[in-house]
């Protein structure tokens, strides 16, 4: 009987999680005659996710250097709902051409747009082994700064498929101390057309309005650093005025069912206070030190306080990225930057396993929240309910028995009925 109750509760939870479904159309190097387009190297992927009343347009590319994902939410007119996007213009050296590379046709109105740009990689030698990047300044330890404009990327069409956009770096030249090899850095975006939970740790909940990306560092020559650690400089943009502030909120939860040992979730909101109409970057503060993800190889992910991009000299990288093609007036757009750092004290740093992989989610609307599963509720109610029922009925039974068996006065001094 209990099994039936459990299965009923479980099936309930499946029904509730049904959300919007979108139709996805993927195209490579739009504006070019062939799919493999050397002029648009390393390649641009354009995905349309068509919903009932709106469309999410994803433009993902490492063109210009910094890997970028741009998301534009528009209405859904009857016809002509494709963006005017030309990758050859995006790759052009001419600024005016670049500015006009991504435009909206008439009839297509933007509701909101947002995106993420990865600008730089910092490598530092964590001599104090505290995994705290803010504890060091430029002089207190050795640093290497790699900015993505120096990287060469493999052709995006090589590894990508309909729901997966994969960007991999190429073996680096002398300009970067030959520290990177093919696939030393992999950034892949998963596209979703429905709601579900990811099959891979950290099992983040996704829906049709979000995309999850995995950022992986592996097989990098860290030279003579005893304990190398990384910082990934990330910029989040939103199509509000530049004065609009962004905010990272970290929520604690009692529930670590889906990510054992992790009790926090962080959301970086482009429109704090109006989440349902803004973009977000969501992650759990955990990354993995081996390709086979498990709790035993997990370590912490931290972030530094949000900074204005002008303060940290990141605006030039934004201008090199494809964001410039959609936001020509990029200096007046709401944006902020942070450094994601990987590792925890005494975990050996990057040098120990030479592998770090982190997953986060970029989406529109209110960020998904984990709920305590029905299994927990079921077990608790059964487990605690039974003794309570037992106590109530048992107590009644004992009282009734005592009342019915009492016959007159018993002299305690001579009462020997209990001696055995």
């Amino acid at each position: 009987m209990l099994v039936k109750v459990f299965t009923l509760l479980l099936s309930f939870s499946y029904v509730i999680s049904d959300g919007q479904v979108r139709q996805m159309v993927t195209s490579y190097n739009p504006g070019c005659q062939t799919q493999k387009c050397p002029e648009c190297s390393p390649g641009v992927v354009y995905v349309q996710a068509k919903g009932d009343n709106d469309i999410l347009h994803y433009v993902v590319s490492a063109l210009g250097g910094p890997p970028t994902a741009l998301v534009i939410k528009t209405n859904r007119p009857k016809e002509r709902y494709q963006l005017n996007i030309n990758c050859k213009m995006m790759a052009s050296k001419n600024d005016t051409e670049r500015k006009a590379a991504i435009t909206l046709p008439s009839g297509l109105k933007e509701i909101y747009s947002y995106g993420v740009v990865f600008s730089r990689l910092f490598q530092y030698n964590d001599t104090a082994d505290k995994a705290d990047i803010t504890a060091y300044n430029i002089n207190s330890t050795k640093w290497r700064v790699y900015d993505f404009t120096e990287f060469e990327w493999q052709d995006i069409t090589t590894w990508s498929s309909n729901n997966l956009i994969v960007m991999k770096v190429k073996t680096s030249g002398e300009v970067m101390d030959a520290a990177f090899y093919n696939e030393s850095l992999v950034l892949q975006f998963h596209m979703f057309d429905h709601s579900d939970r990811s099959k891979e740790l950290p099992h983040l909940l996704y829906d049709a309005d979000s995309t999850q990306f995995d950022f992986t560092l592996q097989d990098i020559d860290t030279g003579n650093y005893s304990s190398a650690r990384w910082g990934l400089e990330t910029v989040l943009l939103g199509s509000d005025k530049k004065t609009a502030g962004m905010h990272i909120e970290t929520k604690k939860s009692i529930d670590d069912e889906y990510t054992p040992g992790v009790f926090e979730m962080s959301n970086w909101l482009t429109r704090p206070g109006n989440e349902a109409n803004g973009g977000y970057l969501q992650w759990k503060p955990v990354c993995y030190l081996k390709p086979g993800r498990a709790r035993s190889v997990a370590t912490k992910v931290d972030y530094t306080n949000l900074a204005s991009t002008s303060d940290v000299n990141v605006d030039t990288f934004l201008q090199s990225s494809i964001m410039y093609s959609y936001f020509p007036d990029i200096m007046n757009v709401s944006r902020s930057a942070t450094n994601f750092t990987f590792g925890l004290e005494s975990d050996g740093g990057f040098t120990k396993t030479n592998f770090t992989s982190w997953t986060a989610q970029l989406g529109f609307g209110a960020p998904p929240e984990d709920k305590v599963s029905s299994l927990v509720v079921g077990v608790i109610s059964a487990g605690l309910g039974l003794p309570v029922i037992l106590i109530m009925f048992g107590g009644l039974f004992v009282i009734i028995k005592k009342k019915t068996s009492k016959e007159g006065y018993t002299d305690l001094d001579t009462d020997r009925s209990n001696i055995q």
């Binding site: 009692i254 054992p260 209990n418």
Partner: protein, 475 residues
């Protein structure tokens, strides 16, 4: 002459005449209060010896934990080989302490049994140390196995001794005190083994493992001390038996191993409570360190402090609560209270972010209550002549539960996280609670013997003595 002789013969038969009823006269230091088994002071002094009986065993049990990093480096072994030192102790004991208990009842008696198992403990620790001296891990595993045979059965002997000397008097406090000593032994071990090792390294032995072997031999000295306690206890127990004329086991009371199936339902319910409760405390402490670090963001040192709160508090609180339970009686209610409190503590840890100091302190208190109240109940259920077997069974079931659940708990955390683990522990505690409530109900329907208040027990004991006196007069 015959007339006057027959006149002198009492009509009602001899009661206090002849060697039958003559009180043995204790002379010299044997007659002082401290050595007179009739007096409570003697009981308390024997209690002190009884507590140290398994001190050596508890001290040496956690030697690997105290010297973990040292052992792994000096012997060049992996983490799982290291954990093997604990597995070789616990897995054999799933079955062996049942036989140990039976042997105490049937073959050796508690005096001989305590000495024999103490010898096993000492021999086991010596083998363990010898294995380290010659750097052979197989010998160390053998040593832990032998040590385990002795250690757990020694606990059974200690429990049997406790009931023999303190039933009807301060039994709950005695069990509490024995628990206290086990914690003290473990804590002393954790604190002094490393400094001793550092001291030994100063002697300039060639190899690290030689140092380790020497340190472990020093640990064996504690076991020898416990062996002396066993010998002393045997002497005092035999003497008290003679002076107090405690009845020996008569031939029609011979124990057979098949008697076990006749143990009443209340005994098996007691075993279920024992298992259900202990598996929700000890495996939790084993995994608690990382839980406190991840959920509350504690530093490793702070997390360690919180984790060991249960042990520290129970070391102090067990005898106190034992004394309290002696005064009030009603053991089954105390067991239910302890279980409900622990359920509350786990619920706090699982569903709130309240500072874990609160929950762990309460858990320490609840554990003290339960440990002091639970074990004496067995002495009310089974005959004294079967007590060794009964405690052997309870310990065997407890060890099986702990060994299995430790593995299950690790698997649960790795796959489903700490919330599900806490829910699992809550389920175990609910099983214990259900068993405790059923114990109360079954017992109440059979006369409520197990849950009597202390006043009621004393009254009944006085009435029983009166009856026995009357019986003697009539014979």
């Amino acid at each position: 002459m015959t007339d006057s002789q027959s006149e002198k013969k009492p009509l009602l038969g001899a009661v206090n005449e002849g060697d039958d009823g003559e009180e043995e006269v204790l002379e010299g230091c044997g007659g002082t209060m401290a050595c007179n088994p009739h007096r409570p002071l003697h009981r308390y002094l024997v209690l002190a010896i009884m507590c140290f009986l398994s001190f050596g065993s508890y001290f040496c049990y956690d030697n690997p934990a105290a010297l973990q990093d040292t052992m792994i480096k000096a012997l060049d072994i992996s983490e799982s080989t290291f954990m093997g030192f604990y597995s070789w102790y616990s897995w054999p004991n799933v079955i062996l302490c049942f036989f140990g208990g039976f042997l105490i009842d049937r073959v050796f008696g508690v005096r001989m049994g305590a000495i024999i198992f103490s010898l096993f403990v000492t021999a086991g620790q010596v083998l363990f140390a010898a294995g380290a001296l010659v750097n052979h891990v197989w010998l160390m595993n053998l040593g832990r196995f032998v040590f385990g045979i002795g250690g757990e059965s020694l606990c059974v002997a200690q429990n049997t001794y406790a009931v023999k000397w303190f039933q009807g008097k301060e039994l709950n406090m005695v069990f509490g005190l024995q628990l206290s000593f086990s914690r003290v032994g473990s804590t002393v071990n954790m604190n002094i083994m490393q400094p001793i090792y550092q001291w030994i390294t100063g002697f300039g032995f060639k190899n690290d493992y030689t140092d380790l072997g020497v340190v472990l031999m020093i640990g064996a000295i504690m076991c020898v001390f416990s062996l002396f306690c066993a010998l002393a206890l045997s002497f005092f127990d035999k003497r008290a038996d003679r002076i107090l004329k405690r009845a020996a086991v008569t031939s029609d009371e011979q124990i057979r191993i098949t008697d076990v199936k006749d143990f009443p339902l209340t005994f098996w319910l007691l075993s279920i409570i024992c298992v259900g409760y202990y598996v929700a405390v000890f495996p939790f402490i084993g995994l608690g360190l990382v839980f406190f670090e991840m959920k509350w963001g504690f530093e490793p040192n702070l997390a360690n402090n919180v984790n060991s709160l249960v042990y520290i508090i129970s070391a102090v609180a067990s005898p106190v609560f034992g004394f309290l339970i002696d005064r009030t009686g009603r053991n089954v209610f105390w067991v239910i209270l302890g279980t409900v409190c622990t359920i509350g503590c786990h619920a706090l840890l699982a569903f709130t972010f309240l500072n874990p100091y609160v929950a762990m302190s309460c858990m320490g208190l609840a554990y003290s209550i339960l440990a002091s109240a639970l074990w004496p109940i067995a002495s009310q259920i089974v005959r004294n002549s079967q007590l060794g077997t009964a405690y052997g069974i309870m310990q065997a079931i407890q060890n099986l539960g702990l060994a299995v659940i430790a593995i299950v708990a690790g698997a649960i955390v790795d796959s489903s996280g700490y919330l599900i683990l806490e829910v699992f522990f809550l389920a175990c505690l609910c099983v214990a609670l259900i068993a405790a409530v059923m114990l109360y109900l079954v017992d109440a329907s059979r006369g409520g013997k197990l849950n009597r208040s202390a006043k009621e027990r004393r009254r009944l004991a006085a009435l029983k003595e009166e009856e026995e006196e009357e019986k003697k007069l009539l014979d």
